[in-house]
């Protein structure tokens, strides 16, 4: 056979050929463009349409933004400079407003000579929040995180150093009661005492104690009033306090809604549904108009604090629904397994149910936080000076009367950076916590 084969086949290749380049239509940019942009006539139309949209937007925005004028004292001066350089009918941005009002946009009307305090507070806040966000950092940093709220409060609002210290002491008392008195009087009694003792301390002892200490040792910073705080500082303070306070409250509400206890269950349901059924702006007006009706006559406390309370309650109802979804998504076996191990309710929740439920609900929780941060802009309607409120104030001044886009673009970009990075962090966390194999 092989001889026949040798006779019929004139030539047999005995070496391998080198690999050839793939044809031009199957490689490189050509293939990519063909597959991703021009694969069918619908795609061609879509590509042309999107190119037109991109061109239409960029051809207006890019020259406007890139040719913008950065140094001027007023809009009129901006226009003079524009007339000199580009001619009268050119449309260019006047970024000078951001440079000139930079401090106001960031700090509102915070005293200029005290700007170091919010800046330092912001840096300390980043240090405090870092060990919570990234597990690879040393755990000892969490001690600073615990102290941070009091330090930050003192730095921003100033006043005697004793007020935050005395308030913090209340938490120490509660902790001490649980740790030392708890074993002696039983768990339930310990918890009740740990709630009652600090409350009594704050109501009766804390005020006089702080005053007495302040008269003996007058250490403190110059006090700053809430209505002097504005701009992105205000948005950050309200947003961050709301985020930190609403998470535990939301979890408690979610547990309440899942609870077997009839009364607790119904109360949680009503609270959540009423809060969610009414827009935040109505709640904010309630805080500014009505809260004084519900409190003892003569009480009057800070508008900003009222707003923080309202924002916290509002977003805690949303977080409760997100966490409830997570709780409902857990297989029933997890609850039964926790019961079978003989864990009591709080232990089973803390050790078995909540870690899994919260992991599932991370995207929803972060979305709620992003929503809360964006909603801080609504405080402009009850007279607080958030960035949008400040943009109105800047426009009302004679120098910058008639300036719109530059401020809107700047504020929008700042919010975008904040919110987008929060969203990215949630994706990072999801990836890190994913345990099952994919």
């Amino acid at each position: 056979m092989s001889e026949v084969h040798a006779q019929t086949v004139a030539y047999v290749r005995d070496t391998m050929l080198d690999q050839r380049e793939p044809p031009l239509s199957q490689s490189g940019a050509y293939k990519w463009i063909h597959e991703n942009l021009l694969s069918s006539w619908v795609n061609v139309v879509l590509t042309v349409a999107s190119l037109w949209v991109i061109w239409a937007v960029l051809s207006h925005v890019v020259p406007w933004a890139a040719l913008g004028i950065w140094s001027a004292d007023s809009l009129a001066q901006c226009r003079e400079i524009r007339d000199q350089i580009y001619g009268a009918d050119a449309s260019v941005a006047c970024w000078a407003v951001i440079g000139e009002r930079w401090n106001q946009l960031l700090f509102g009307f915070y005293p200029t000579e005290l700007y170091w305090r919010p800046i330092l507070a912001f840096v300390l806040f980043l240090v405090a929040i870092a060990p919570v966000l990234f597990a690879s950092l040393p755990r000892k940093m969490l001690w600073f995180t615990l102290a941070a709220p009091f330090v930050l409060f003192w730095l921003i609002w100033g006043g005697a150093i004793w007020t935050p210290i005395v308030v913090a002491l209340g938490f120490v008392i509660g902790w001490a009661v649980v740790t030392f008195a708890g074993p002696a009087i039983g768990a339930l009694g310990g918890v009740v005492l740990a709630i009652v003792a600090p409350l009594l301390y704050w109501l009766l002892v804390a005020g006089p104690l702080a005053d007495a200490l302040a008269t003996v040792l007058p250490i403190g910073l110059e006090p700053v009033k809430s209505n002097e705080i504005g701009g992105f500082m205000l948005a950050t303070i309200i947003g961050v306090s709301g985020i930190i306070l609403s998470l535990p409250l939301g979890i408690v509400l979610a547990l309440g809604r899942q609870s077997d206890l009839f009364l607790i269950n119904k109360c949680s349901v009503i609270f959540i549904e009423v809060i969610r059924g009414v827009p935040l702006i109505v709640w904010l007006f309630t805080a500014s108009l009505l809260l004084n009706y519900f409190l003892p006559p003569g009480t009057n406390f800070d508008l900003m604090l009222r707003v923080i309370i309202m924002v916290t309650l509002f977003s805690s109802a949303y977080i409760a629904e997100v966490v409830r979804g997570g709780l409902a998504a857990l297989p029933k076996g997890q609850y039964e397994a926790a019961d079978a191990l003989g864990l009591d309710y709080w232990k089973s929740m803390r050790l078995i149910i909540l870690p899994q439920a919260l992991k599932i609900s991370i995207p929803g929780i972060v979305n709620t936080f992003i929503g809360l941060f964006k909603d801080t802009t609504l405080v402009v309607f009850i007279g607080l000076l958030d960035p949008i409120g400040l943009s109105n104030a800047i426009r009302a001044s004679t120098q910058w009367n008639g300036i719109y886009w530059e401020l809107f673009v700047f504020i929008g970009l700042c919010f975008f950076v904040f919110c987008f990075s929060m969203g990215r962090y949630s994706l990072f966390l999801e990836k890190k916590l994913r345990r099952e194999h994919r």
């Binding site: 597959e35 991703n36 942009l37 694969s39 795609n43 879509l46 590509t47 999107s50 190119l51 949209v53 991109i54 339930l188 077997d260 206890l261 009839f262 009364l263 607790i264 109360c267 549904e273 009423v274 969610r276 059924g277 009414v278 827009p279 935040l280 702006i281 109505v282 007006f285 309630t286 108009l289 009505l290 004084n292 009706y293 519900f294 409190l295 003892p296 006559p297 992003i370 964006k374 909603d375 802009t377 609504l378 402009v380 309607f381 949008i388 719109y404 886009w405 809107f408 504020i411 929008g412 919010f415 975008f416 919110c419 987008f420 969203g423």
Partner: protein, 410 residues
């Protein structure tokens, strides 16, 4: 033989209330109840004291008093001589109007953007990502004021449309976009059946609804016929006729004509005047919510596994049939519940109308009425109740729809 499981008979001890799980839940609830009652009575007594101190009472009588303020955007007859209650109703209708328009446009935008974001076309999907991320991460309030500024600052004044050297022109000679709002043609009736315009439109809507119902019956009949004989009768010309003819005949009977906007004096007259406040609010709400809906739609389509499409193709179904009968019914099940909450969000966000001066219920009942009468407590209570009822209604209606597309499990 005696069983050892029964504990020795002991009376009820008080400590059982805390340590016995049978009674503990009861104890906790009673304590919670008492605390709650105390809190409530404290709040109520505070309120009563405060009201007394201010010399106010709790009374809804202000709703029947003349309001004394005007509302520029209204769906029903209203003037400043009418009552606060009527003003609140105008506001309620305005809220419902913008919520309805917003939900409709947001759904369209969201579905288009969500589907396009999954497109094979790299450029289109990136463009949609930019849209979604851009709108989701910037406060709605900023979008509202931005679009409002765009509408008032970048559009021509009515006088730009005047004369031979007009710098601006109307779209199709029918729609004028000016800095005072958009003027569109309106349909007027020459020989209306009723003096009140509202009833005429009700008749039109009823006829249209009857047509749609008849078309549905026709399709039902065609399907039954197909199942019985295997042939589907051709129905499209019946469908078209049923859809158009009755309404057209009605329009001719009432001699309907288009009332085009035209320049009169310093402003446009005739047609429908959509104020910038309404348009800015509507567009901003729709674009913002549309970005969220796009993500929901994308997630819903991705949630249907690829095997479903492949199985449908293996059965020989065409792509359009596959989409209608296989993919969409399954995707809708995932999409509907979050879509409901987006509609609710849009409705509640419409209260941001305050930023552009659109007269919704928060601006009339919760704004000017409260300022004029000093009835904060009653006004805010009614306002909250309205939003609560509206939210519950929307979620109730959508839940019924949700139940109809839900997976029917045995």
């Amino acid at each position: 033989m005696t069983t050892m499981t029964d504990p020795p008979g002991q009376g009820f001890r008080l400590s059982q209330l805390i340590y016995d799980t049978r009674y503990r839940s009861l104890t906790i609830q009673v304590v919670a109840m008492v605390l709650l009652m105390l809190l409530f009575s404290w709040l109520v007594s505070n309120t009563i004291h405060n009201l007394q101190n201010l010399g106010k009472d709790f009374d809804f009588g202000f709703l029947t008093q003349p309001s004394g303020y005007d509302i520029n955007q209204r769906l029903i007859e209203y003037n400043s001589q009418m009552t606060h209650g009527r003003a609140a109703l105008v506001g309620i209708l305005n809220t419902i109007l913008v919520a309805f328009l917003g939900c409709a446009l947001a759904t369209v935008l969201g579905v288009v953007a969500g589907v396009l974001r999954l497109s094979n076309n790299w450029l289109v999907s990136r463009l949609m990502s930019v849209y979604v991320e851009g709108f989701r991460n910037v406060p709605l309030l900023l979008w509202i004021v931005l679009i409002f500024a765009l509408m008032t600052e970048s559009t021509p004044a009515p006088r730009a449309f005047r004369g031979d050297d007009a710098t601006a022109s109307m779209l199709f000679d029918a729609i004028a976009v000016t800095n005072r709002g958009v003027y569109t043609p309106a349909i007027h009736f020459g020989t209306p059946f009723f003096a009140n315009g509202f009833f005429n439109w009700l008749v039109v809507i009823l006829v249209l609804g009857a047509s749609l119902y008849a078309i549905r019956r026709l399709h039902h009949w065609a399907t039954e016929r197909q199942e019985a004989t295997g042939d589907r009768p051709t129905t499209w010309y019946f469908t078209l006729g049923l859809l158009i003819l009755p309404t057209a005949i009605l329009m001719v009977l009432m001699s309907a004509y288009l009332n085009l906007p035209e320049l009169k004096g310093f402003n446009f007259g005739g047609g429908i005047h959509l104020r910038n406040s309404l348009i800015a609010l509507w567009l901003a709400l729709s674009l913002y919510t549309g970005a969220f809906i796009a993500e929901i739609v994308r997630g819903g389509i991705l949630a249907v596994s690829k095997g479903q499409t492949e199985a449908a193709y293996a059965l020989g179904l065409r792509p359009s049939t596959t989409m209608n009968l296989v993919i969409l019914p399954q995707a809708l099940r995932v999409i509907i519940p979050p879509l409901i909450s987006q509609f609710l969000n849009l409705t509640k966000n419409s209260s941001l109308a305050i930023a552009v001066g659109y007269m919704d219920v928060r601006s009339t009942l919760g704004g000017i009425t409260i300022n004029q009468t000093g009835r904060e407590l009653e006004g805010m209570l009614l306002l909250g109740l309205f939003y609560l009822v509206l939210s519950l209604l929307i979620s109730g209606a959508m839940n019924i729809y949700n139940a109809s597309v839900k997976l029917k499990e045995r």
